[in-house]
Symmetry: C2
């Protein structure tokens, strides 16, 4: 028996932590439903279109092209309040969350959608020598480091130092590592070679290091082979079955005893659940600290707490793990909103619907004009796969005004073979100056 | 008597310091002239289109829209080497310059075009509490500070703190201050009012403080009056004949004893010559440390050293000071290249031509749809002036591929009344993390 909410009933307080695909989609579905009072808390003020983050790192797109103010997106959702804060602690017993700002947020429903962060598998210290790729700031840091290294190489007269500055090591042969390696090979070896007078950028080394037997392990074997061949063609040195035993400031030490001297180490070898997941009353589902929710995406023993996106570990109908891709996250966000609405609709204890993943497939781009696509029984590669990639990503960006600007940027870069966003905004010095002006004082960096 | 350079003569080494309008224009004019071997040294890797910098500060444009890689611009100038370095010292006697990188650059000709930096008229300590607007990093810091303050105000429950976070003080009623005040009033009071749930952004205060009797002192009196009326209409509090006696972390102290509580103080009240000017053998021409060159733009006693742009103080044919605008800088850059070519052409001691400034006028924009233009006997204001401003700035951007992207951004923002680049990329926390990843270690900021 269904019954509408009595108009006198207070709206249910929904606290969504994280403005990624899960959180944003959930908030959108609850928008202007007056049975809910939604707070969306994120430590940034923007939603990030993460699938294109590697393009910011490789100077193909500007940061605002792939990020948009959460307030702006949710401008017309009158029952949604966006707050920029970082949740530091959760008290599931009291149904509260505490922000770094000191604010205490109380909730009737909690949606945890804080995603993952770069993981170093317990190797403390590696973090300070490597560059991750999870946030806009990290993407800009990769760009700044690689471009600054080329500037330093152009100034340097020491051949060893030059070689080191002209080597980029990417650890991890998953989609992120492959996309970065392909884009860097395009940018550094092809686009920039007419820009320098003293160094030969075609001699630049991009090394992709993967511990297992093949790159793109989630794809078919022949797709991995194609990707490897394609990367080699672009000049990327692909090292499979190669483990990393240590990382230091200027060097990657491989399991086979070899060392690679480099001034830029990108770490794309693993992720772990955001630390908030550990503050819940549930044991982690895997070594990465992810949570295993009930089929409806609520937590065991906590029907009022939901989790979705990269922070959870679930399997689809066929028993395969649901991949950490945007469509999966958006589907989870929509599902959580649906369950909340069903909860609000009725007073019976009927079972909530289970989350069902509609697999739209996975795709990875490999430099200019090539990609691999795996969707159901469909397998694409080379130019058709690249076209499919372009189509899907532009489609996804709909709703962003950035779409047009991204398309234009790509069109120019494609035709002219040279992206125009390769400026270095902050040198480390500038950052210190900037920080100093913000009223903070830093000592001189070494 | 003219004579061509002998083919055996070594090319003359030209060292250009600064990749702004002077340096870039000079390098362009010397491009592929094999009598010259040009090194263009800049501490950034990009040329900055400074007239639009305020739009980055007010979230209307993205950083790459107004900056372009110097290497890319000078890609086809085979005799020009671009080097990213900061010149720390000059030895005019030895004809060398030393970079922070440790490199020593020797030259036959030196072109000093390092511009100006923000000046606090000897008030040490004010710098750390205020935000300047000379570099991309500074522009991004202004944007970040103002937008973050609004986020904090939305979180705050203390009315005094909220008021403070919702006050922007701009010191200096010249073109920079006026353009910033107009754009902030547009952005903060109009575009953003539907974005927040707890604060009323139409109550936001933008205060423009000017020490002299009127703003835009370089314009006619009725133009200043118009600008003041227009700013007031946008909601800006214009305080003329108002001096600043002190600046602290949270407060501007005025000469009349009044204090303004604010969490964002932009300092647009003065500039001084870049410190390199003081390393030359010439006495400064004014209190701002600028240099008075000979009519040909070389320095007294140093026919091999030239200076141009904001770092020099010169007068036009009518005895008026040449303004610090882009057309003046470009004309000086071209003039210096012309003198260098004449020098290379002949062996006589004929006098070099004197620099002649062709005054194209000055213009300042005041929020949406309004500007003032002063050019010869022509005076424009309101919408016609705004159209003229738009036309001239788009024309100037020709040569940048960014032109189209800027135009599109403006068109969208104009039609929708809401710019899309208002993302906060780095919180102070993110910056520390990013810096830590670059291998530097900073202690926790206060």
């Amino acid at each position: 028996m269904k019954s509408e909410n009595s108009p006198k009933e207070a709206p249910r307080k929904v606290l969504i932590i994280g403005g990624g695909f899960v959180g944003l989609e959930c908030a959108r579905r609850l928008a202007n439903d007056e049975r809910f009072e939604v707070s969306l808390v994120d430590r940034n003020n923007h939603h990030l279109f993460q699938p294109l983050l590697y393009q910011v790192a490789t100077a193909s797109l500007a940061a605002p092209d792939i990020a948009r103010s959460l307030r702006q997106i949710l401008e017309k959702a009158r029952n949604v309040t966006v707050l920029m804060d970082e949740i530091a602690d959760l008290s599931p017993g009291e149904r509260t969350a505490t922000g770094k700002s000191g604010h205490v947020y109380s909730y009737d429903y909690l949606v945890l959608a804080t995603g993952v962060r770069t993981s170093f598998f317990g190797n403390l210290g590696w973090e300070q020598h490597t560059l991750g790729l999870k946030t806009l700031a990290e993407a800009q840091m990769i760009r700044r480091t690689v471009l600054s290294n080329l500037e330093k190489a152009e100034l340097s007269t020491d051949p060893d130092e030059r070689r080191r500055l002209m080597t980029v090591a990417i650890v991890g042969g998953g989609p992120t590592g492959v996309e970065l390696a392909g884009a860097f090979a395009d940018l550094l070896r092809r686009s920039l070679h007419t820009n320098f007078r003293r160094i030969d950028t075609t001699k630049l080394r991009v090394i992709l290091i993967e511990g297992s037997e093949r790159i793109l392990g989630a794809y078919d074997e022949e797709q991995s082979e194609y990707a490897e061949k394609r990367l080699s063609h672009l000049g990327v040195e692909v090292r499979t079955s190669t483990t990393v035993s240590n990382v230091s400031a200027q060097c990657v030490h491989l399991g086979n005893g070899e060392t690679i001297d480099t001034a830029a180490i990108v770490w794309a070898a693993g992720t772990e659940a955001s630390p908030l997941a550990a503050k819940l009353d549930v044991p982690p589902a895997d070594r990465a600290g992810r949570i295993a929710p009930e089929p409806d995406l609520s937590l065991p023993g906590h029907p009022e707490i939901f989790a979705g996106g990269d922070v959870v570990s679930i399997r689809d109908g066929k028993g395969n793990p649901v991949p950490g891709v945007a469509p999966a996250a958006m589907q989870m966000g929509r599902h959580i909103a649906k369950v909340l609405k069903i909860d609000a609709d009725r007073y019976t204890d009927e079972a909530r619907p289970a989350f069902k993943y509609y697999d739209k497939g996975i795709m990875a781009i490999i430099g200019k004009n090539a990609a691999v696509v795996k969707s159901g029984n469909l397998r694409l590669r080379a130019f058709p796969a690249w076209l499919a990639w372009l189509f899907v990503h532009v489609l996804f960006l709909i709703g962003f005004r950035n779409k047009l600007s991204v398309l234009l940027g790509w069109a120019f870069a494609y035709l002219r073979d040279t992206p125009d966003t390769r400026i270095i905004v902050n040198s480390a010095d500038n950052e210190q100056e900037a920080a100093a002006q913000a009223g903070e004082s830093y000592p001189d960096a070494a």
